[in-house]
Symmetry: C2
Subunit: 124 residues, 2 copies
DNA sequence: CGTTGACTTCGAGCCCGCTCGAAGGATCAC
DNA sequence: GTGATCCTTCGAGCGGGCTCGAAGTCAACG
């Protein structure tokens, strides 16, 4: 099992070291990241996998506080799967509704693009 | 041609009166909104149509400053269609890339949901 | 004529999610 | 050993996009 320094974990996850510390500080990690004897953070595979999950939730638009709630549930251990499920499903619904909306807006914008393409063609 | 008060325009567009004034202040409108003799804003159909466009751009994630740039182009009048086209196309690209990404993340989350559904089934 | 209420402007404040800098301690490369 | 590099914590700052409050004007209703 490999463990990474915060700088390496930053590269691996595409986040900054500042953000990684911030996530931990803000209660988004499942537990405090392990430390080396010298006190430096050591990111485990488990940490990295979890950060990947955070990234998924975040980049589908989940606010930090909801990610924290989810982390709290996972941290609490087995027994609250139904609650986690509800949280993820609710999120899923929101994201899908938004995808549909964005799709519709995008088509309207495409229509506009079509108009300009016509106009630019004319001009040439 | 109907014209609306700011309060009516807010209802119509789903924005707040604060936001409508903010958009104008921030140079997002094509021109200052007309005023009644008493100085109250009167939103024309053209204004509402434009606000709809702003909403489309905004809710597909375009930052305010880019909306302003686009408004500047439209305001400048005919002759810069190619530039407008470029702006919209670039935006379109970004949005599509993001849609793909969000879709991928969503599927990963769905996978997780599937796992929890299994677990909750087990428990019941 | 008074009061209610919708409107005006302006500037400040807020929330989110980072992002950064300072100050200090440890570690690595030579 | 010494200098560069990396780490730590803490708290402040920032950019975006609103959001709000204060203070004032004006018009309509009764």
């Amino acid at each position: 099992m490999t463990t990474l320094s915060i700088a390496e974990a930053a590269v691996e996850t595409g986040l900054t070291t500042h953000t990684l510390r911030y996530y931990e500080r803000d209660g988004l990690m499942l537990s405090s990241v392990d430390r080396s004897v010298s006190g430096h953070r050591r990111y485990s595979d488990r940490d990295l996998t979890w950060i990947e999950m955070i990234t998924r939730l975040r980049s589908t638009g989940m606010p930090i506080r909801d990610v924290r709630r989810y982390a709290d549930l996972v941290r609490a251990g087995a027994g609250n799967e139904a609650e986690r499920l509800a949280l993820l499903k609710a999120h899923r619904e929101r994201v899908e509704r938004q995808l549909v909306q964005v799709g519709a807006h995008l088509r309207a914008i495409d229509h506009k693009i079509g108009i300009y393409e016509g106009a630019v063609d004319q001009a040439s």
